[in-house]
Amino acid sequence: MNNLACGVTAAPPVPGEATMREENYWKRALRTPVTRRRTLALGLAGGILIACGDDDDDGKQGNGGGDGKLPPGFEPVPPGISKTLVDYRKKYSSYRFADLAGQADGPQSGGTFRYSTYPGVTGWDVTGPEGDTLASFASAHFNGLLTFRMNDKENPDNLYPAVGDLAQSWEQKDDLTVSFKLHQGVKFHDTAPVSGRELTSEDVAYCFKVYQGTQDPTKGIAQQPIFSEVDKIETPDKHTVVVKFKAPAAYFLNSLMYPVAVIFAKEAFEKPDIFKKTPIGTGAFVLDKWDPPNVHSGKKNPTYFRKDPVSGKQLPFVDAFEAPMLLGNHPQEVAQFRSGNLDTLWVQGKTELDNVVGSVNGALGQVEIPPPGFQPYMVLKLDKPPLNDRRVRRALQMAIDINGIIDSVAEGLGAPGYAQDYSYFGRNWPWSIEELDKLGAAHKYNVDEAKKLLKEATGAEKGMGRPLKVMVSTIPSTGTDVAKLMIGYWRNAGIDVVLDEYGVQDLTRWSTALFAKQWGDLDGVFAGFAGPGMDPDQYAYGPLNSKSPRNFFWVNDPKLDKLTVDQRRLFKEEERRKALEEVMKIDLGEAYRIWGVNPYKLSARQPWAFNVLDTIHAWSNVGWGQKSNEVVWINQKLKKA
């Protein structure tokens, strides 16, 4: 049923098991009980979820059915549960949603989906400097070739199996060739100058060439890293695209899931005025209003080609989405959710989740593990003494009590921070606090050792002999609290820390410091975003290769340069894993980046909104998941009640 339901034809996995985790994921999952995907699915509270997750779920995945049964071994939550992590996962895990009122009505058409978004993009030029940020908005209006699976309620992974988007099927023909077969009859939005014409393989080839940036280097800024190894793009017929590479690119297919490489029409691109103002794609929604900082909204695309992979019904379910740009104004967001204006809300902290869910009739909460790409960390000025000394960097990491941060700021709902896709190593993401030592000695809280190292390295009696000046945000979030707590631990270890705080007024000062390395007298900059990653490459080559545009950590290590390039070329999962492990070991050992805690993503939603948070996790509507707007559905009966 899966191939049919997913709307893709299975391509033979080539070569070997490791090629891709794509359309025949389910078959693979059944064949090999513990694969990467499987382990991910089990999440942190592995113990509980294994009991229900090690299942033969072939027949009952999907949101549409709603058989109303809890997975085996999963008890209804008793009243007045104690607030342990496990209890929270029980109370709020997406598994609970199988038993929700209104779920059994199945996906319904109609209604407007409302959520809060941010005004952080200025237009729709997906090829421009904002391409990366636009990914979160563009996927409501555009499609790529591949996307990640949604509606996968039974398996809340934090990284996703690929499914076809514009591509009906695809095949890794050999190490240097990938071919895509496109869906037929896909039409662009009926907006001039494209006016609803059909999409062909020529469009895909045209976009990919722009993304390569060979003709105009100011185009495809966000996409160039994905397409850097592409040699030639061929279009043998109207619905076939063949991509040839200069060197083996094991990361390529996964990376296409990341919705930056969306397909637009040539005639729109050639009219920059229109291209900047109006997203004319093939996506589920036609732009209605784009009025920053007020609102972003879209109306259902009547000619949309995709069917829900789970229920087989036509997408999108809702008639429209409407997103006031409230992000960054949290009190207002919470009030809007309480008044019923918003269907979903990211909350900050366990207590707030309890408060919000407790005060809104029927509201539901959920705790999800974020992917490694979203978490607070500190970027160091690696070439500035004494930070160029490995011992000093390790001391900075050692002085931080990860456990203490999890217990206080994250209210128990957090995991040791480190942005490496270690789920790829055949294990759960993320590591639990008990396994902290696997992140190396520097991640272990040891103030005495830290003090000793600092003294050895700098000869100073106290701290590192001079104040550490760091830039940190005042923008309210759990991440800010984590950063402040890290600073507090450094002070406790005798290191003087001077803060350079920036608020909403000064975001550009921060991005200038981080991305253009205009640091002034700063020693470090706190940031909170290193992803997202659909492939481990994003966490290896991305931040650690000296030539990568995502290396705003300014790591410059010849050993890492070589290793991070090598891993991109390896199709065999085992070999690639080894290379990645090596990368990780060096990165952690050198303490090139200082890590804190990765707080879980907590969210609340109204009882009438389905498929909102069930599986999308970090790919939320404000993250990289406006794609998920197309599967959201509103239970009108419940909403009226």
Partner: protein, 315 residues
């Protein structure tokens, strides 16, 4: 008289020009690169340079300033650097009505509440009622607007499940929805302004009360209410209205925080965006617009004063 108007006109023009220099220098001195406001990654220096050239910020500052000045004198405030598909003029046209409405409603509120309170307070001078009114209204000036605003938003949601609309709709599209968005922020700004209105009404009324004609009116045996309403209020109104006019610039400052809190896309929140993204053109445009308004208003007031008082002209 004409000579006076011309002299004052030139002086006002010079003031606006000085404002443009101050703002230009300040915003360019602020660290941060407008090109990087849009990026969430590193790009090679050559690409960065190409993007800078595209929006014309790689030239030396004097060149940039003269270019801007030349265009502005021809009535072209330029493109917004951040939202580069919009002109500064169109953004001003979009955002000014929001702020103007907010100001108008705040002034209305402060007048409706502040003037009666001021009159009562003056009429009952040095009684408990006077003290209470004074403390309550002066508190309006002392309480931080962002704090009061946050409290109203959070507890409005928690206790009443209420929130003002999360999307701004222009007045001419849907007046009811529009006023729903505005009542709370106007209340906060109005409370702020109310203390000023009340205090000035109070002292103006006290001033008037001392005059002989009031004594005469009382001596005639008129009731106190009649005295206050008919004789005092009318005479006290003139200075109070003058003061209200002066408060517009002060209020404009308050809109920055209040518009942010209540998600109103007005001049205040736009100036925050302009500064945050180092949108030089937009920031200059907003400040020049406000400064021109202020200076013109002052000029009009001066001219009116000169017309009624020949001594002023000679100064």
């Amino acid at each position: 008289m004409t000579g006076y108007i011309v002299r004052r006109g030139i002086a006002s023009f010079v003031v606006v020009w000085v404002v443009s220099i101050i703002v230009f220098l300040l915003i360019h001195a602020a660290p941060g690169d407008p090109v990087l406001a849009k990026l969430s990654q590193r790009i090679p220096e050559a690409q960065l340079q190409a993007l800078r050239e595209q929006i014309g910020i790689d030239d030396p500052l004097p060149v940039q300033y003269l270019r801007w000045l030349g265009n502005t004198l021809q009535g072209d405030l330029g493109q917004s650097l951040y939202r580069d598909q919009q002109t500064v003029a169109s953004r001003l046209a979009d955002t000014f009505p929001v702020t103007a409405e907010l100001l108008a409603l705040s002034i209305l509120f402060s007048t409706l509440v502040g003037i009666p309170l001021g009159v009562i307070s003056a009429a009952r001078q040095d009684t408990v009622l006077d003290y209470v009114i004074r403390v309550v209204s002066i508190t309006g000036l002392a309480v931080p607007a962002f704090w009061l605003g946050t409290v109203l938003i959070v507890y409005g949601g928690l206790w009443f499940g209420y929130a003002t609309p999360d999307i701004y709709v222009p007045l001419w599209e849907d007046p009811v929805e529009n006023l729903k968005s505005f009542w709370m922020p106007a209340l906060i700004l109005g409370y702020n302004l109310c203390s000023i209105t009340m205090r000035f009404t109070r002292s103006a009324v006290l001033e008037v009360l001392r005059h002989d004609y009031i004594r005469t009116a009382r001596a005639k045996g008129l009731r106190e209410t009649t005295v206050v309403l008919r004789h005092v209020l009318l005479n006290a109104a003139i200075p109070v209205i003058a003061v209200l006019g002066n408060q517009v610039v002060f209020l404009l400052g308050g809109t920055v925080v209040v518009e942010f809190l209540f998600h109103l896309p007005g001049l205040g929140s736009t100036s925050m965006e302009a500064l945050s993204t180092r949108d030089y053109n937009l920031m200059l445009g907003i400040v020049m617009f406000v400064a021109t308004l202020t200076v013109t208003a002052n000029l009009a007031a001066d001219v009116a004063a000169a017309a009624s008082d020949p001594r002023v002209r000679l100064r």
